[in-house]
Symmetry: C2
Subunit: 224 residues, 2 copies
Amino acid sequence: MDNKEISQAVIGRLPRYFRFLGELKDEGVERISSQELSDIMNVTASQIRQDFNNFGGFGQQGYGYNVAYLYEEIGRILGLDKTHKLIIIGAGNLGQALANYTNFDRRGFLFKGIFDCDPSLYGKKIRSMEIRPMEELEDFVKENEIDMAVLTIPKASAAQVARRLSHTGIRGIWNFAHVDLDVPDGIQVENVHLSDSLMKLAYNINRSENQMLPGFESQLMDEK
Amino acid sequence: MDNKEISQAVIGRLPRYFRFLGELKDEGVERISSQELSDIMNVTASQIRQDFNNFGGFGQQGYGYNVAYLYEEIGRILGLDKTHKLIIIGAGNLGQALANYTNFDRRGFLFKGIFDCDPSLYGKKIRSMEIRPMEELEDFVKENEIDMAVLTIPKASAAQVARRLSHTGIRGIWNFAHVDLDVPDGIQVENVHLSDSLMKLAYNINRSENQMLPGFESQLMDEK
DNA sequence: AAAATATTGTCAATTCATTGACATTCCCTT
DNA sequence: AAGGGAATGTCAATGAATTGACAATATTTT
């Protein structure tokens, strides 16, 4: 297996492949060709083959791909064969919702603790975990060998918390705060900017409405 | 203003521009050059100018961009000058968390109702809105001229709900269910696949660990 | 066992996105 | 009011991602 960098465009598609292959596997499908997968997933067969070949050949010429094998390999590429210990920082609505979302566990993302700076929340239990004060953050991460931190705190405090985390040995931050975090090399950040996503939806709605209505130019003219 | 299609790559960057410009505006910054913005945002000045010019020239040669004006224009492009009425379908952890997230209102995304199929939730209030039974969905959307539906339901029921929505005049679906929805033209779907995002983070953590450790090839060899 | 068929892996072509370069235009100072 | 300086808008060049094409190779059938 070679060492060349895989583009994030490819990585971004892997989870979707993984999902479809998992479903096919559950349905008992044993083998699939890139063309069949293409039909199901609405991407070109060429792209599918190109994507998989970034990681070496998983298929058999004249046969196709073994679903269960491919599923497992992609899982391995994504690092899902290993478990990850995560903590949630910020026990607001979103933090608590994510803490209660048990599906992540099934993929090896283990919920190990939740923190907040609001004393009135200390001790409250979420999935049998007490909400802990922020003061305990660093020690907890080190003692429990936490890999990942989920940031569900207001943007104002996110940068500071990220800075604190960067000295703890944490490997990745799943950032729901609406800021760009600046972290040292070796710490990965994955942003989930919900409001950005909602704005994109607003744009696309807007655009499709303008496309449908005849004479929309005049509307635009109005606004000087 | 011309009618040519703008690439989603560009659209995807607009919310981030919007955020930075909003912050600059709040700080009282009046004008900014593409180069200054480039330094702040870590994208090339050329890309910034190219992006803005998709929508016509917002700047002044020799001067730069007026922050407040540019902010407003991008908001307009994103459709944030209009209000959007949204409902949430699925009053589980995530649905309730989003319902309680008041920041969306500030951008004109108005929370108008929340639905669930669990009778034990009917009547429970969230931000002074009762949780409604799914049976009332179609009538409610039509009577209240709802634009957007937020889908925070399990994947099993998402396709069916999307089908029901497609007959109501809804314009967009913000989809948190882990499936690809198939909707008619004219209805926009924006997916938020949290587990995909988490897998990407897992991949990048994994990759960076392999890069750092010398002799990681031998680890790969082990697995036959 | 050989021929026919299917499908990958990969190279080349194309399309799309980003970056670089610079003429043009406007601001600002003198 | 005129000239120098600054920064846009835009075109061209580069680079990245996607698609198309096909030789190589395995499977399946006869």
